[in-house]
Symmetry: C3
Subunit: 356 residues, 3 copies
């Protein structure tokens, strides 16, 4: 089951060019994203209301989309405006649309009740469009449920084991205690590892003579957005007291968007605020993250297959699981709440294109 009344990252804004139709499935619903003549994003259910043909195989005609099976034409609000060989067009001939908003290089989509789609609820990611930060745009696809990936992000103690040559560093990192706080819409995790070696991905782009103090402080919020202040500075320079001279700082932005119960879109980037005039530094950091996320994907995909083989398997919790336990409870509570609300409400179509 998925949360519906929330903003999901639907893609990088750069993925949907002026004449593109991008077909992508969110929480089990196929969607086609395109832009009107003014460049504003539009999201339709990717299924013509007539015979179910994919609208992503259609043709853009100005602010309209024409289905290329039998020629029905729709405006950006989903209303049909033309049926070949038929004069009268009933109001019922319309396709479902979803609110979609472009914000700081990401497209955000609302799959639930359109009248609740308040753009003020979109998590803030100013670093993606700030001139003081640099990043490359990342995407990967998982053939697993999104919660297994959320688990992974909520316990960074896996870093030394899964990522010894990229994000990881020494086992001492996993031994450092993490501080866990429950938020209204997620979990905040703070971990300081003092006086350790810098991880390999930083050693490639920044020279530290000795040990560093390393912090990872992140909010993981519904439906599955990871926003992290992380970095490191030479040990003894007071990073833990807020001094960040000679620090290497990052703002990890990651978003899990369920595709189906068994697959997930994963959008990510890792902005940094040093050496921003050196593209090779940005490229090196991005590449380290890409390699590390492949390490995660390999492990989590194998874990998922293992769990599928034994539905009666009971995980045995350890202390490091506290954050992911909190988040899983929050997801369950939210889904249950929506299920109650939806079963009480009359069913209706979603016909609003954009909540902005």
């Amino acid at each position: 089951m998925f949360i519906k009344n929330c903003w999901y990252v639907a893609g990088w804004a750069s993925e949907v060019g002026a004449d593109d139709f991008i077909a992508r499935t969110f929480i089990g619903v196929p969607v086609v994203m395109w832009r009107d003549s003014g460049g504003r994003p539009v999201a339709f259910e990717d299924r013509c209301c007539h015979r179910g043909a994919p609208l992503s195989m259609g043709r853009r005609e100005g602010d309209f989309l024409r289905c290329m099976y039998h020629g029905l034409k729709f405006d950006r609000d989903g209303a049909c405006v033309e049926i070949p060989a038929q004069d009268r067009i009933p109001d019922s001939v319309r396709v479902n649309t979803f609110p979609i908003v472009e914000r700081h290089k990401w497209l955000w989509i609302w799959m639930g009740e359109a009248d609740k789609a308040d753009p003020a609820l979109i998590p803030d990611t100013p670093w993606l469009s700030s001139p003081d930060w640099r990043h490359l745009e990342g995407y990967t696809h998982y053939d697993t449920n999104y919660l297994l990936i959320a688990d992974n992000l909520l316990d960074l103690a896996h870093l030394p084991y899964v990522h010894p040559n990229t994000l990881g560093g020494p086992a001492a990192y996993a031994e450092s205690p993490a501080q866990i706080e429950a938020l209204d819409n997620g979990v905040r995790v703070t971990r300081w590892a003092m006086n350790i070696d810098a991880p390999p991905f930083v050693q490639k782009v920044k020279h530290y003579d000795g040990k560093v103090d390393r912090w990872n402080k992140y909010d993981f919020v519904l439906p599955g957005v990871f926003l992290m202040d992380s970095g490191m500075a030479p040990t003894g320079t007071g990073a833990a007291e807020g001094k960040r001279d000679n620090a290497a700082e990052f703002r990890g932005c990651q978003a899990l968007t369920p595709e189906t119960e068994n697959s997930t879109h994963y959008f990510f980037c890792h902005p940094h605020n040093f050496a921003i005039d050196q593209p090779e530094v940005t490229a090196s950091i991005h590449q380290s993250v890409v390699v590390a996320f492949e390490e995660d994907r390999r492990m989590i995909t194998a874990q998922s297959r293992s769990l599928d083989l034994r539905p009666d398997f009971n995980m045995i919790p350890i202390r490091a699981d506290r954050a992911l336990g909190l988040f899983r409870s929050l997801v369950k509570k939210t889904v249950d709440g929506e299920t109650v609300a939806i079963s009480a409400a009359p069913r209706k179509n979603i016909a609003m294109t954009e909540a902005l």
Copy 2:
């Protein structure tokens, strides 16, 4: 659910050579087709009655087929005539057979009650073996239910949208009203598009100076056979009144045979009666049809996937859907009628090879 008491096209006669075993599944039942020593086609269930091994992995021995797992030998009526190391052969040791008839280059098979298999019920396709017509033999395979393909054939208004560069022509074609007649065993559709451009596939093989009057008149009959008189002639030469001087005439013959609930065999050809001494004309017409049918297949396969994703999707009918609505009703009524009859009748094996 499938109609059982009807003739399905099982293949092109040319596919089953003297020593061939052709394994093909019809309405969920695997069948092996072969020829006896006199060249007469034989159809067995492709499953030895002993341990279920495919008989298509067997060996022809004169008028007999031997299973090559444990050596049982069967005559053309399905009766076992030899069991290694065993003298007595019980009557129960026999394989199911199906009536099969070769007619005008097509093999027709009857999957239902053998005693109802009247060859007089086979739809007539004389153009396939007439010296006055030319065609090439076509086949394609769909990973969809056959009814989605029937829908497509029953509304040729899709031509300008799906086939703009092959069979299609201008949008005006779709705007021309189709006349729909219910037949006892199908639907008749007649459409005249007056004073329009000839479609691309005809422009390649026949020169017309100006506009043409184009007709498509076809019967689509149970279980899924499409027989079309189509063509075009210069506008103003009286084609609509029956004059076909300087016409380009075709007799489209197409047959949908369900393989399973989710896959379909599609046999087709497009005989023409002009330039029959020019093989390059026949090849060009055939190639245009092949390309066009790939366009259909791409669209219908995508439509099928889209429908599978949302079982609760309700198609919204438009005026152009009338013919396909009639046909779907007829299929349903026929299947329901057979289901009632079958549940009332005692179960028996089908043991007759050929109804001729």
Copy 3:
């Protein structure tokens, strides 16, 4: 359903090197096999008790295995001895283990109740490690239930039909009567074919001027182990009376180990006791068997697909099916007996590594 309280062949001992983790599934349970620092085999369920990650993606640290997702470390009995950032380790943190024994080049695993795992129950295969016999190690994988392969091995009358160019020989072989005896734990089959041609695979490695008397005498015992004394000698030299001068003798050893309900591991070899100083003879015999087993696999896989398509198919038994009928009854009786015993007993974890 599978028999649990029995020894299954888990692999060739040579497959698990000093630092290897071999992941293989037996009766639906994923297992990782490895060796401790003394070379003794260890078998764990291939699933960390914490979050289900495969332990075969872990790291051997001396006599310990560390899960490389979150760093938990286990001893060879499955007990957790280290959890990062956690002092107390509850007794419940342990992984399932299975008794595993190395015997005559094969690894044998016990998937049922560990306290019943008596190594004395392991079928004896001395030829695999005897200096008087030679073989090469064989393995193949089936995408079918193991019982269809057992059927095949229990009726060698299929040899002339499936293997005419390898193990088979003339149809007369199939006509020779087989003598069937029920054993407590299986079936014994004895077949003598007198005065026939030697089969192709022997003709390649041993010259016989005339006809031979050929015997195949084998026990097929639970759970699916085939142990055969087979061979041939010149007709008239008294082989049937026990004289084996100038005989070509073999000891076929084959083991079917179910992977899942729909797939099977097949370990095999075909030791011979003549020309043991000629590796090319061993290679030729092995290669003939490999080709023949591919012939079986092709037939049985096709048979399995055929049976899957028609769940209501009733096989019609013939006289040659007696041995396989006996074995199938024995399997059913054994599984039913275990099911009754298991449902009566309290559930417990299997924690013993080795029964030796």
